[in-house]
């Protein structure tokens, strides 16, 4: 993983620690760690455990009017999850979304970062701030704003909005992807840009001495060095895409083409408002697992590519 910590820096006072089994400052360690561990346990670990637990139950009624009872259902909720066409079409929808949105988002972020890092561009801090500014706009508000820009009656570009069905079932996924890219491109640009700034100047200068142009330097030196940062942004993009909820939920108020089960998280939400908590819990578990597996696999594959 690119997120490993150098262990050498982290070990205190190696010369004064006589044996492995003596732990110094036990009280302090507990005091520093306990508060975080408690909230992490209560609001991260326990909910995950509880969702898994809930997903093994189902609601049964005795007769049509009997009181509902929660009984052990084994894997029956998971059978429903894997048999649900709504759920799978929502998954394939976010995968399509990923393919149309992320290459553009990360590609542009990389180009912006390389330009900000090159001597070619003037007015760097202006561009950096302007491109990053949308990150300060909450997804819900960005979606409301772009929604108004897409609606023909309000759009400042009526020629486009009236003739292209931006909110129709064919294009609405692209329209949502545009909102997400508008918000996150600048954030990814900054992560890549920070990595670029850490490249030693001598390395770039040596390449210039050898007659390499800016494009060649970018392609052969800069991009390989920032590959870990690109991977990190890629993983965040996977997590973000699978969680897609805010923007399409807002778009339901503008576009009838976005149904209540448009993305996996919207399936979870609409199932829990039925309410069918056990099934919704099973959806959550599958979604969380899928997210972890996908981002982990992505890390593994790209690490092999990036680091040989």
């Amino acid at each position: 993983m690119p997120v490993k910590v150098a262990p050498t820096n982290a070990s205190p006072t190696p010369n004064r620690r006589p044996a492995r089994h003596t732990v110094h400052h036990k009280g302090a360690i507990v005091g520093f760690l306990a508060p975080f561990i408690v909230v992490f346990g209560l609001f991260y670990v326990v909910p995950i455990g509880y969702a898994i637990y809930q997903s093994f139950f189902k609601i049964e009624r005795e007769g049509a009017f009997g009181a509902p009872q929660q009984v052990f259902g084994g894997l029956s909720q998971y059978a429903t999850v894997f048999g649900s066409t709504e759920f799978w079409s929502s998954i394939s929808r976010v995968l399509i979304f990923f393919c149309i949105s992320i290459p553009i988002q990360l590609g542009l972020a990389l180009i912006f970062a390389l330009l900000l890092d090159s001597p070619v561009l003037k007015g760097k801090s202006f561009f950096r701030i302007v491109i990053f500014a949308p990150y300060a706009v909450p997804g819900v508000i960005a979606a409301i704003m772009w929604g108004f820009l897409y609606v023909p009656s309000l759009s400042p570009f009526p020629a486009i909005a009236e003739n292209v069905p931006l909110l129709g079932s064919q294009l609405v996924l692209f329209s949502i992807a545009n909102v997400v890219n508008w918000v996150f491109t600048g954030y990814n640009m900054l992560i890549i840009y920070s990595a670029l700034k850490a490249i030693p100047y001598d390395m770039i200068e040596a390449a210039r001495m050898d007659g390499a142009g800016q494009l060649r330097i970018a392609w052969s030196i800069k991009i390989p060095i920032v590959a870990p940062a690109l991977i990190l942004t890629g993983v965040f993009a996977i997590i973000g895409t699978l969680q897609l909820f805010n923007e399409p939920t807002v778009f339901r108020t503008f576009a009838s083409a976005v149904e209540s089960t448009y993305t996996p998280n919207m399936v979870v939400y609409s199932t829990s408002s039925v309410p069918n908590y056990n099934l919704a819990a099973a959806y959550s578990v599958v979604l969380a697992l899928a997210t972890c597996v996908l981002s982990f696999t992505f890390l593994k594959i790209t690490q092999k590519r990036a680091f040989g």
């Binding site: 520093f32 508060p35 326990v46 706009v137």
Partner: protein
């Protein structure tokens, strides 16, 4: 850029070399960036212009320029006072959820990250890996089980149901650990210990000042993620007086068919609610950029 001077001398010595200072690439790059910057700015500009218009002018006038009548202040007044200052309540709620939540979250993450960086104890890596795995867990997958758990203790539809889960920042622990390991020298801690300072005093007086960039970064990104949070409040809250501003504006926007005057309030409210974050990012730029560099590179 530090390399500017060296770059020009180099260029002068080798005028035939295809270096970047070539005016065509400079012009091309600038043009490209201007077009892209326009794309990123236009929606915010539109929001500002639209906020200054009455409802009849909104559809009637050019979307990217002001109408003859400048109604921004009147619109802000109407939005703020509508329905018993509901919008003010939402802004206050968001500030509390995000401000307090990020402050508490940053403190907890900083202490944990510091302990993981500067103390050796059995199971340290295991604890860190579990926390790191938490970064990969989608926050929205937690919302539903959190709702079920809070309803067991009658905690749903309260301030705490949104506030407490927001104080957990596994990413903050990760960043604090990296930053503490790299920028807090063991010698300083040893010196403080030899002076007999208690561990907590050492942390606050010696380590925290050195960790400021990481702390500001953690705070800001935690603040943004709580400020942007929508799913958790949507699941938890019924009482609109407890809504954060995102949920409130969403609720207004869903009612514009029945109450068209809400449309102006949604537009003005959106403008008001993005201003604090943009300001915070601009003012604290110096801090979070170095913090981000530490987190992204290593």
């Amino acid at each position: 850029m530090s390399g500017g001077a060296a770059g020009t001398t180099r260029h002068r010595r080798n005028p035939g070399g295809a270096t970047s200072e070539n005016p065509i690439s400079v012009g091309g790059a600038t043009l490209f960036m201007v077009i892209c910057a326009t794309y990123f700015l236009v929606p915010i500009w539109w929001l500002f212009v639209a906020s200054s218009k009455s409802r009849s002018n909104l559809a009637a006038s050019d979307g990217l320029w002001f109408a003859q009548q400048f109604d921004l202040w009147k619109n802000i007044g109407d939005t703020v006072s509508f329905d018993g200052h509901l919008f003010v309540q939402w802004i206050v709620n968001s500030l509390l959820y995000a401000g307090l939540g990020a402050a508490v979250g940053t403190l907890l993450a900083a202490m944990a990250g510091y302990a993981l960086a500067k103390f050796v104890f059995p199971g340290r890596e295991a604890v860190f890996n579990v926390i790191l795995a938490g970064v990969l867990v989608p926050a929205t997958a937690l919302a539903l089980p959190l709702f079920l758990l809070f309803s067991k203790v009658q905690g749903v539809d309260t301030f705490w149901s949104v506030f407490l889960p927001s104080t957990v920042s596994p990413f903050g622990v990760y960043l604090s650990r990296i930053y503490a390991a790299a920028s807090v020298p063991d010698e300083l801690l040893e010196a403080a210990r030899l002076d007999g300072a208690p561990e907590f005093a050492t942390f606050f007086r010696v380590a925290v000042p050195l960790m400021i960039p990481a702390l500001v970064t953690t705070f800001l990104f935690q603040f943004v993620s709580i400020w942007n949070n929508f799913f958790l409040p949507l699941v938890m809250l019924q009482n609109e007086r407890l809504y954060p501003v995102t949920l409130g504006l969403y609720a207004w926007n869903s009612q514009t068919n029945q109450a068209p005057e809400l449309q102006t309030y949604v537009i003005v409210g959106s403008l008001i609610s993005i201003v604090p974050l943009i300001l915070a990012f601009l003012l604290l730029q110096r801090f979070w950029q170095s913090g981000l560099a530490a987190g992204g590179v290593k």
